[in-house]
Each structure stands twice: as structure tokens, then as C-alpha cells.
Symmetry: C2
Subunit: 248 residues, 2 copies
Amino acid sequence: MKKISVFANQKGGVGKTTCAVNVGFELARRGRSVLLIDMDPQANMTTWCGQDPDSFDATIYDVLKGTSNIDDIKVKVKEKVHLAPSNILLASIEREIFAAIGYERRLKKAIQEITENFNHILIDCPPSLGTLTVNGLVASDEVYIAVACEHLSVIGTNKLLETIDAVRDNYNAGLEIGRVIPTMFTNTVLAGEMVKQLSTFFGDTLAKTKIRRNVKIGESSAMGQSIMEYDLQSIGAQDFISLVEEII
Amino acid sequence: MKKISVFANQKGGVGKTTCAVNVGFELARRGRSVLLIDMDPQANMTTWCGQDPDSFDATIYDVLKGTSNIDDIKVKVKEKVHLAPSNILLASIEREIFAAIGYERRLKKAIQEITENFNHILIDCPPSLGTLTVNGLVASDEVYIAVACEHLSVIGTNKLLETIDAVRDNYNAGLEIGRVIPTMFTNTVLAGEMVKQLSTFFGDTLAKTKIRRNVKIGESSAMGQSIMEYDLQSIGAQDFISLVEEII
Ligand SMILES: Nc1ncnc2c1ncn2[C@@H]1O[C@H](COP(=O)(O)OP(=O)(O)OP(=O)(O)O)[C@@H](O)[C@H]1O
Ligand SMILES: Nc1ncnc2c1ncn2[C@@H]1O[C@H](COP(=O)(O)OP(=O)(O)OP(=O)(O)O)[C@@H](O)[C@H]1O
Ligand SMILES: [Mg+2]
Ligand SMILES: [Mg+2]
């Protein structure tokens, strides 16, 4: 696994935040130091870490505007896990910075200025291909694409690949696809068919581990815990442990 | 049910498109004339209607830019159902029009110019609170809020209400909340708890009908059909029929 990873997909509700948080917490459980960066105005990653998005004086919004830096905004949320939080103010950043030269590299520059040496930096993106996701892709070494094993999710992946190609050609030649992660897998004909399509399209880039649909995963987010912390015996925990072992 | 309805929620994957398409198709099955407007660059509504988003010379993008109108771009997709399609070009509209005076009323004006008299116009929004969703809210008589019976979805509803209030105060005083629709309902403690929270928060605005999680709903989108057309005996079909009976 590389140092800076971004979790992206413009399709909504496919498990981007769920993957970023659970992979991050599991890496920390294994002794690695982790920085989570929430680039989504919905601030689901921030909430999942037990933080109130409206309680911060400065968030990643201020970092992208250039009035703060990640060292100043980061909070420790767990042993070996820090968070660069976000809140709804981030929703207006697209209009505020996109006309500026180099707007797409603001996150990359902000990460370069971090003084602490984290083993892993995981970036969560909103469900769009706009400025925030582009900043995430430009700043990263690899991208993880969560794709729900459902029709509407699978058909949207080619637009994401086009955006990744454009970012690679213009701003970040080294950007690789870490894995395509099949999520919300169920033992149905449809899900099986979707995995087949993903496998044909992505080959070895498709993770061998499928994240199965598991109600405990939804429960764990309500408790602000990873699925491993919430219920280590659950299929959700088994799936994320096997995913992390596959990508480490 | 009012004439112009928008399906909005910045949380991704909660069933906005699923509700808009199934309500639209069911209204048409009952003899009403329906126009579906796809305001999402992902164009899931367009795909669900059996259309290839990349096959159109002009889409809702061109209408919002002012170089086309809905009469010219609409296509008939089924008996009594027309579609104003979208495609990925729509993703750049935010940057292209937001500086213009009155950018938020472009869809409203475009709908006023439609010559055909539809009984219902249903608008699908992307998972964000940006220009496209604002245009949808400004253009509508009522908003339907699909909320998945999951923690991350339920906590995001207050930000959407703030946006609805702001639109009501500035651009569309008559905008009402048609219903909050609980989706992806399962017989679990978590889902039951989420419905209780929604009921406390929304009272009678919460639909009595819950859309239960049903794999056939995902299958129906892959077939380009409503759940009623795909499998009238399924729980998905029963739920959408009872939802339409509740809101008509
Ligand atoms: N494997 C799973 N089993 C059951 N529920 C899941 C699973 N993965 C995610 N969820 C639930 O599905 C919902 C969507 O997941 P999540 O919010 O992580 O997706 P997302 O892609 O980050 O969404 P958004 O596009 O809004 O950012 C959440 O309520 C989450 O708890
Ligand atoms: N009641 C349900 N039971 C099972 N699957 C469902 C149900 N409702 C929606 N789905 C599936 O869940 C996924 C998300 O639904 P949908 O795409 O309608 O949500 P959305 O809010 O429009 O997403 P986006 O935020 O990306 O626009 C789709 O694959 C859809 O087929
Ligand atoms: Mg998310
Ligand atoms: Mg949708």
C-alpha cells in the first residue's frame, strides 16, 4: 500500500467513507500511524470519528483557502489516528478557488507541508468529480474505487476512469489505481453478474476481497467505531481485515 | 401531489433516482402524463429510461446554458412518459453559470417555456447542494426527500433543510416538503431506530409508506423498467404502489 491513498467515486452511497475509515482504523490497529483527510462537505468521515463538524474553528476548507494548514487543524481521534476534519463550508470551495491558477494542487501542497511523518494518509471524497475530488486525485499516490455490486454503480465507473486519466496526464503522472473494491456484495444473481463485469473490465485491479453487505457496518458508523472495534466476529470485520491484508 | 416535484438529498445512494423513476412510471401507468428531468451529470435517470446519455446532441446542459429548450431535447421513453436527458457535460455547468445573475432560475424559466401540458414533472438531483440541486428546488412546487434508514443518511437531513429554507426565503416562497421517504428499510433495530428519529423530526411529513430494501429494485434498474413492470408481486412494487397512493 502506498503512503497517500484517495477513496473516490462520483456515484453516491457506494461505501467510500466506509472503506476509508475502516481501512484507516485497521492500519492503526496494526501499529501504523494514519492521517484521515475529510474532503467531503457532508463530513461523514469527521462524524464517524466521533467529531462534531460544526465544532471546529478551522477545517480542511481553511487549508484549501490558504488561511490554515493541516498541522493546525488536525485532531487526534484514536491511538495512531489523526483527522483533518471538514464541514459544510467546504461546499462553497469549488466556486471560491476554481478560477485561481493551480487550484487543483492545493491539497497536494498542504500535505507536503505536514511536519509529522504519517505512515498513511487516507483521503475521503464527496460523490462528484469536481474540484474536491480532483484535489484528492492530484495529491495521491493511488486511488481506491469503491463500487457497489449494483447496476447503477458499475455503469458509472468509466466516467471516473476518464477523470483519473485526465488527472494523470495533466497533474499527477504517478497516480495508480490501488484497487477497485466491490462493496455491498450479496449472494444474488445480480451481484454475481456485477462482479463478473468488474472483473472483465479491471482484471487484477479488482480486489479479491469483496465487502459483503452487513448491517453491523451501518451500526458501527452510528457508534463512531470501525467494524473491527464494534464486532470483530462479524462478516464485515472479516472482510475489512482480509482487504487490508490484501493491500498492505 | 403537486405538478412539479424535485427529489433531492446531498447524501449519496439513498434512492433519489429510484424514487423519481418509480413514482414517475407509476403515475404514467395510472394515466397521467409525466416529464422526467435528469439534473444529475451521472445521468442515472436517463440510463434507467433505456437511453444512452452520450447519444444526445443536446441535453438539459444545453437548456441551462440557454442554447436549447426542453421541447427540443425531450424524448418519449414510454407511454405517457417523456425524459429531458442529461449527460456528463452537466458536471461543468456549476462553473459555467454560477456567476451569471439569476443562474438559480434557469430550470424554472425553461420549465415555464414547455409547450406540452404535462400532469407531472419530476426532477432528479445529484448528491450535492450545489447549483443543480438549487435549480431543482427553485423550479419546484414540492420536494421529496429520500432518506435511507441508515445513520449517515439520517444525520445529513438537517443541512438539506437549511438549504430548502434558504431557497424558500430567497427564490421560491411556495416550496413545500411533499414527503420525507424512508428508503432501504430493513427489519433491524438500526432501521427501526432511524425511522423513529425521522418521525420525531418530521412528524406527518414522513411518509407512512417505507420503501423496503428489495434486490428486485436493483434488478429492475438494470432492465430499464419500473419495479412494477419488472415484478408486480415484489415487495418493492407493493411499496411504490402504496407510496404513490399516499401522495397522489
Ligand atoms: N458493506 C456494507 N454493508 C452494509 N451497509 C454498508 C456497507 N458499506 C456501507 N454501508 C452503509 O451504506 C451507506 C453508504 O455508505 P458510505 O456512506 O460509506 O458511502 P459513500 O460512498 O461514502 O457515500 P457518499 O457518496 O454519500 O459519500 C452508509 O449508511 C453505510 O453505513
Ligand atoms: N429499496 C431498495 N432496495 C434495494 N436496492 C435499492 C433500493 N432503492 C435503491 N436501491 C439501489 O441502491 C442504489 C442507490 O439508489 P439510487 O441510485 O436510486 O440512489 P441515489 O440517491 O439516486 O444515488 P446518487 O446519490 O448517486 O444519485 C442503486 O443501485 C439502486 O438500485
Ligand atoms: Mg462518503
Ligand atoms: Mg441518483
